[in-house]
Symmetry: D2
Subunit: 349 residues, 4 copies
């Protein structure tokens, strides 16, 4: 790539927006040209706003002025870390103005003709973009990345689903605090405690997982028919969602077969050379006490899901535990991988 592709970040001042900045600063294909904020932040220098991640924002980013969320900005791709109500209005405006919007918001994840993507497992869902453009008369487009927990669950299930057919899934999650954004959860609520509820989360995990594992028939997405029961929990861990999973299959694998399928999984071949794609989307650990969020969340720059404790389930077929980095693979990095997929497939230009 001779010249980098100019990109804008929508919602650049929040926690996920800052992750986008961190990850895009040295990206081989993309170059940040616009930071878009809200009425409150627009007009300010980026360095004068609160930086909530560790270390500091890159100096040249700090000097940029935060812009209003109005199209007409430079950039071909718009990464969106907008709140869902704002995304509803702003993202279509940018698609209409010609941007490829790679959204991390939940707004359009379940909307017809808008792909919900984890490239390794369903890159072919981009085929619905053509109809999206036609129907909406957009020169640009919108693609979405799933809920952070859904990402870890769907990546764990898809390799097994292809081979053995997933029928039922029992899920209990132990989710990190960063998933609630900033300031998010008060120390006074979560210290020496956990909270067995996150609004809307259980529903999203159920429906998004079926969309992700669904099949394209012509340009129509047919969701997978999987029964999913979910209980979520917020736990005092900063980053890294842990997912306890039990699965019933069409054809019951042995523990060894399941391990082999997961450990050998490389994702759809078309995505193997994308810059952010990890060599192994799934890492299998065999120690009895892994995966653990602090020790495993950063595997392959936070892009791999680590699976362990794979064993027989007394009720369904198998139990296992997955850890996914919720703000990397499960948020900003996931959207960046989506953008790379769009570029590789000629949707940006």
């Amino acid at each position: 790539m001779d010249e980098k592709i100019p990109v804008a970040i929508l919602g650049a001042t929040g926690a996920v927006g800052q992750r986008f900045i961190q990850l895009l600063v040295d990206h081989p294909w993309f170059e940040i040209v616009a930071l878009v904020g809200s009425d409150r932040s627009a007009g300010q220098k980026y360095r004068d706003l609160k930086w909530v991640l560790d270390s500091d924002p890159p100096p040249h980013i700090g000097k940029m002025t935060v812009l209003d969320p109005e199209p007409g900005l430079p950039g071909k791709i718009a990464f969106s870390a907008l709140p869902s109500e704002v995304a509803k209005i702003v993202e279509p405006k940018f698609a209409k103005a010609g941007y490829a919007v790679c959204s991390n918001a939940s707004t359009f994840r379940e909307t017809v003709n808008i792909p919900l993507l984890i490239p390794e497992i369903n890159a072919d869902h981009v085929s619905m973009i053509e109809k999206q453009r036609r129907v909406n008369r957009w020169p640009g487009l919108i693609v979405t990345s799933p809920n952070c927990t859904t990402t870890g669950l769907a990546m764990t299930l898809q390799p097994l689903h292809q081979v053995f057919g997933v029928k039922q899934v029992f899920v209990t999650t132990l989710q990190a605090i960063s998933g609630a954004g900033y300031p998010g959860v008060s120390f006074m609520d979560i210290y020496d405690n956990l909270i067995p509820f996150i609004p809307g989360e259980e529903e999203k995990i159920q429906s998004e997982t079926c969309l992700l594992l669904g099949k394209m028939v012509a340009d129509e997405r047919i969701p997978a028919e999987i029964g999913i029961s979910v209980q979520v929990n917020r736990v005092p861990v900063s980053d890294g969602h842990t997912i306890s999973i039990a699965v019933k299959f069409e054809r019951t694998p042995t523990v060894e077969e399941a391990i082999r399928v997961l450990a050998n999984y490389r994702g759809l071949q078309s995505t193997n050379n994308l810059p952010s794609a990890p060599k192994n989307p799934i890492l299998v650990r065999k120690e009895t006490d892994r995966p653990q969020p602090r020790r495993d969340r950063n595997a392959n720059n936070g892009m791999s899901v680590t699976v362990g404790r794979i064993r027989k389930c007394p009720l369904l077929d198998l139990r296992m535990v997955s850890v996914v980095h919720n703000t990397m693979r499960g948020a900003a990095s996931g959207s960046i991988l989506n953008a790379e997929l769009l570029v590789a497939n000629g949707f940006v230009g």
Copy 2:
């Protein structure tokens, strides 16, 4: 009761032993007359040993000298907080010497003729004691209290089991650090982290729950036939185990029926007047974000189990979440309630 019953504490220097002391100091029926330690601690004043709970040991306890684990001590009841390998040798010695041993160790929980007790739900299991004494030629006896997590699970299930018949249970636990004793878990292992494994725990929860919900036929205990699948997790919470539960019943209750049965549960009538028995063994909370370990573990002095998030399960019948105080109801207080049951039934004296 004119005079208090003299009691000994075996394993008096560990974390659970210290809880026994805290709870027995003002007990209306019992009076501590002996603190029994290991070779390492025997001979020392109690106040010279490390006290790991908050506040201080009661002054008159601090003056007592720690004794060797040899029968011949004063006392009619021996509360045991011994490690399981030590319990294997010491507890039968004390039963042989005439003590009613109320054990918190796992050693004899699944042994034939030794009751595993949660008085409210299976006080009738004491009927196996007669055979225990006969077979072993013990003037004393041994009763055991279950694993801390099992306690919370069995108390949640039993009211429902009686009415609707429990067939299958999916369990994922989020267990507090104090369950690992002292020094237990290193800060370096658990800070900003969780560990999806506790050795032997999943097996204990499966087998002990079936024993607790079992029925006495003549003087034989017939375990309940319930399929149980368990995934445990250690989380950075000090006290209070949280249990995510999904249940399939013989006869499916509505959510309202289940709530009514749990909220109205009072336990076996014969236990209602025991000093440590809470009025409501089960508390039902209807807020969407409860129960929480820090906010609910101390309900009724840590003796009630709090259940919330009772709702339909897309796969089985119902999902719910329980919190139990693992070192109170799930350990020391549970054994004290067992001792009260023995006294009320004439087994001590």
Copy 3:
């Protein structure tokens, strides 16, 4: 006291307001008759507002309706947990309407004629109330309780000051999160971290300490002339401020003399029989690793300050460490003790 004195709580819905409720529910002298909130909460049932402390609000409190901050409410005493800008307007209104306002706000702590009180150490400062009433033409009055950290510092210094004369004090604090109220500090800011700054705190500790240790000459308060250097830190502890102190005296005591003076301190005799006054305002611990916030904050219901590590300082005279419960002695309980002092001195009628 035949009948309880009716009291109102201003700012009843915040974290300190809730502590007032917890502490006043069973108070021997006082009875809550009004809960006063802000525009946002007024008109609602108290039980429908978020309760941030552990356990639940007392049921009869839950049924009360939150009122507007307008005088004309029932009650003779008004406990104020108002934000300082609001206190500025509301507290004088209540004093004018005849209430004895016992304020926890910082607004009037350093105002002439308004006592800043820790009864055990400066109960005689109430003598400025007469002039306060005269000047302002208030039938009621305002008294204030100091900043939470100042409370622990002043209580530690006063016994020594009386005997040896404090000249210089070096202070470094390690302050609990609850001091920032609710929601207060975000988990994302403080997990695995500490923050070496709290706005305005260092200044308050310097000036308030000198006022508290000051002397009444006629009805004028002459602040103590003590040089104080403070560095504050917010640390990930829920309750209990730890204060590292080094002191230079007019007359250098030995370590043993200092321990004796602190351990024998009983506070001004006139306060000894107030219901909330602890027998020992100061507890001295001799273990090398005490005081610790979690283990010592609740000493005497959170009303005693625990002092330890008393030793020679290579630069000044002595070093020591104090722990004070910041939301009990350092906030709500402190104001209640002030109210008891007012009643005992005939200021409430």
Copy 4:
């Protein structure tokens, strides 16, 4: 350097030993050729021992067999993370066998003729090595790195000492848990708590700081004459010691002068090109709420000390706060920088 210098790690299985491995794996000058453990670990494959850091040990290290602490091993430099009693015996044995021992143990830090080094501030102290070798008849040598907190303190003071002359220092520390090694501090002791004591720590900080800031006269080290008063605290933070400092100088600088001196400090020129030396040994932050351990500990790979809150002190001259990464600069990385200094000065060969 054509060929890498072979190095051994003594105490390779502990927390600091593992940091040595992490840091040396890609070192431009050094190559690990021997991992030395205790009787307990010797003979095992390194990968079969518990790895306590995040991520995994490098695979080729995992395959190495842990050796007995006997000289005769390959390697020219021995990095020591030994416990101090073991270091006392083993380190001289290795020096006698020709190794340059770069020790992190406290054993010989205050021993005559053995340099205590932070290269940027006192690289010239290596001049005492000649005498060390002569007196002990060692073909090898021993150099030591200071206590982790001392490192942060001495690096903060030295630039100011050179220009303004440090006379008195008041120190209160807030130290991370990793400083206690592994398993170190129990979660049950430190959760929601802090501990105002670490055995021996206050004494070390006082004496080592004077040695580090001392001057070489001929081949004799003359300690700096600085009065130091220290209070240490262990706080629930994983890595990164925070040090609250107040200083009195010979010649009082303004705040701006102090900031300028610290910000411009580059350390002794002879050390500027060592591979592990940061460009700025000191970073000055001007935000009111910095430095913070989690946000600042990793500055320049954990090799820079971050100083903030520089301001007038009401009693001495200036107050400030420093953060140092205790297991990087304050332990393993510090010893590696010492080794680089020895190589650059021709002591290894």
